[in-house]
């Protein structure tokens, strides 16, 4: 794993935005981070530390105000389907059915209808929503909505999957289930994942590495290897002494920052 090439590199990345009150706010300040190809990397940190801001910069929906942010050696300029983004509150198009949502990216790529419905149907089935193709999002539970959002993102097959607290709005049981399913999907089709979360256990369970951010303005405080290179991901690790130690180590790093902020 440590041998693999760098997919995304942030060097001294900072972001200043203008608040609704007109003041300029420094959200993140000098983030240095290398994300390796096909790695699952989580970012944890206190609320408001700029974790999501960093993710939106990688997605290209916000612009970097300082430093360098690069994917595959080229500076990131604007959003694109090579970097899929999944939100905490799903961001499904409410006026489109499940099928319509999953097909959206494929429509934009100009795929002919039979092909896109075929591919969408496959993914909808894969996330366990077969039979719900013609239902509108407001009739689905939170977990189902997030499955649709995941299927919509996987449909256009991005190289990088950016996830902004995707399970943060779900109940505890659904959350555990979705974590398992995400790991399964990730091992089926390798992708580079950057995963934002508040939940240290979730981060340790899912990730190869966990980056801890400082309180605002956020920087990377420490990066912890959470999965030995080459070892498999799975629920069985959760009971091990090693897992518990990693969780405690990361939590104590986060706690110091929460106290500061």
């Amino acid at each position: 794993m440590s041998e693999s090439r760098v997919k995304i590199r942030a060097a001294g990345v900072s972001k200043t935005y203008i608040s609704p009150g007109g003041e300029s706010v420094l959200a993140i300040d000098g983030v240095d981070l290398e994300v390796r190809e096909n790695e699952f990397l989580s970012i944890v940190g206190p609320s408001g530390c700029g974790k999501s801001t960093f993710l939106y910069l990688v997605a290209g929906v916000l612009e970097v105000t300082g430093g360098e942010l690069v994917k595959d050696g080229a500076a990131i300029r604007g959003p694109g389907p090579d970097r899929g983004l999944v939100f905490q509150h799903f961001a499904l198009f409410p006026w489109r059915t499940v099928m319509g949502n999953v097909c959206y990216g494929l429509e934009e790529q100009g795929l002919p209808r039979p092909e896109r419905t075929g591919r969408a149907r496959e993914l909808i089935q894969r996330v366990g929503l077969k039979g719900f193709e013609n239902v509108y999002p407001n009739q689905l539970s939170g977990g189902m909505k997030q499955r649709v959002a995941l299927a919509r993102t996987l449909a256009y097959d991005p190289e990088v999957l950016l996830m902004d607290e995707p399970f943060g709005a779900l109940d505890a049981q659904t959350r555990l289930l979705m974590q398992e399913e995400l790991l399964e999907l990730w091992s089926e089709r390798k992708k580079t994942v950057i995963f934002i979360t508040h939940d240290v256990r979730e981060a340790v369970y899912l990730s190869d590495r966990v980056a801890v951010m400082t309180a605002r303005p956020g920087r990377i405080k420490r990066i912890v290897e959470t999965r030995a290179p080459g070892s498999s991901a799975g629920r069985e690790h959760v009971e091990t002494q090693e897992f518990v130690e990693k969780v405690n180590e990361i939590w104590s790093l986060v706690r110091d920052e929460v106290v500061i902020s």
């Binding site: 939106y56 997605a59 290209g60 929906v61 604007g78 959003p79 694109g80 389907p81 970097r83 899929g84 983004l85 939100f87 509150h89 961001a91 198009f93 409410p94 006026w95 489109r96 059915t97 959206y104 990216g105 934009e108 790529q109 039979g131 719900f132 193709e133 013609n134 239902v135 509108y136 999002p137 407001n138 009739q139 689905l140 539970s141 189902m144 256009y156």
Partner: protein, 270 residues
């Protein structure tokens, strides 16, 4: 709570008959009120000079329908209403969304809109008559000016209120800046646009009748005023009855149209 598969196609057909039953049930109190009206006037409790008998109103309505008097005035009103309302919707939506997207237009129009919003549009009727005459045009202009503001404001708010995460999702999936308008902004603004437009529909009838009463010699508003001056109260109520019917039908049709478009908002499509 969660819907089963593939049944959105045949909802309308299934819903119709219970809805009709509900419709009759909901409006049945009207029958008692009409009966009370008829009895009170027939018994002489209310002098017929103030309130004609319901049966006389209906007789006058039938007579005026057959003579062609009501249809003629109604057609004239319907034409003004349709022209004024639909042009305000088309312009209003365009201006509102353009203001939401382009800062220059927002800065240009916002002070004007703020100033015009509290102005009762009926105050413009006299000057529009001076400018545009007593025919169709002045009435259409009054309706247009009165309706366009709620349409602009609701379209503007709707377009500005579209969740930025939806916009981001679309941009990421490859939607261009121009196509974004049709793919995300307009569908996202639609619930607001449609409720602002419904408000405009109600306003339009007020202005229609008001402008017809002030000048001209056609339209149901003119007819109502003319017959009341002439002392034909039964005829006047027949004209009012026709106006009520038109307003009611317009609103029902509009609601049906709105529900059909916003089918995705329904919690249960049962």
């Amino acid at each position: 709570m969660v819907a089963g598969a593939g049944r959105s196609g045949h909802l309308v057909g299934e819903r119709r008959s219970p809805a009709q039953v509900l419709f009759l049930g909901k409006y049945s109190p009207l029958a008692y009120m009409i009966a009370a009206w008829e009895l009170a006037t027939a018994a002489g409790l209310i002098p017929e000079l103030l309130l004609p008998r319901f049966s006389d109103v209906m007789a006058a309505w039938a007579r005026m329908m057959l003579s062609g008097e009501l249809p003629e005035h109604a057609l004239s009103s319907i034409w003004r209403e349709a022209a004024g309302f639909s042009s305000s919707v088309v312009f209003g939506i365009t201006v509102g969304i353009a203001m939401a997207r382009f800062r220059v237009l927002r800065d240009l129009f916002e002070p004007l809109l703020r100033l015009l919003f509290p102005l009762p549009k009926s105050a413009l009727i006299p000057i529009l008559i001076v400018w545009l005459g007593i025919g169709h045009l002045s009435k259409i202009a009054v309706i247009f000016l009165g309706c366009i503001l709620p349409v602009i404001v609701s379209s503007f708010n709707g377009a500005r209120g579209v969740d930025r995460h939806l916009v981001w999702s679309a941009l990421i999936m490859g939607t261009g800046k121009r196509k974004l308008l049709w793919r995300v902004i307009i569908p996202g603004a639609l619930p607001d646009i449609l409720s602002g437009t419904r408000l405009a529909l109600a306003v339009s009838f007020v202005l229609l009748v008001g402008s017809e009463m002030l000048a001209g010699n056609t339209g149901l508003g003119f007819l109502t005023y003319f017959l009341s001056e002439a002392g034909d109260l039964a005829g006047m109520f027949a004209a009012i009855f026709t106006l009520t019917l038109l307003g009611f039908l317009a609103d029902r049709l509009y609601l049906r149209f709105m529900r059909r478009i916003l089918i995705w908002q329904r919690e249960d499509q049962e």
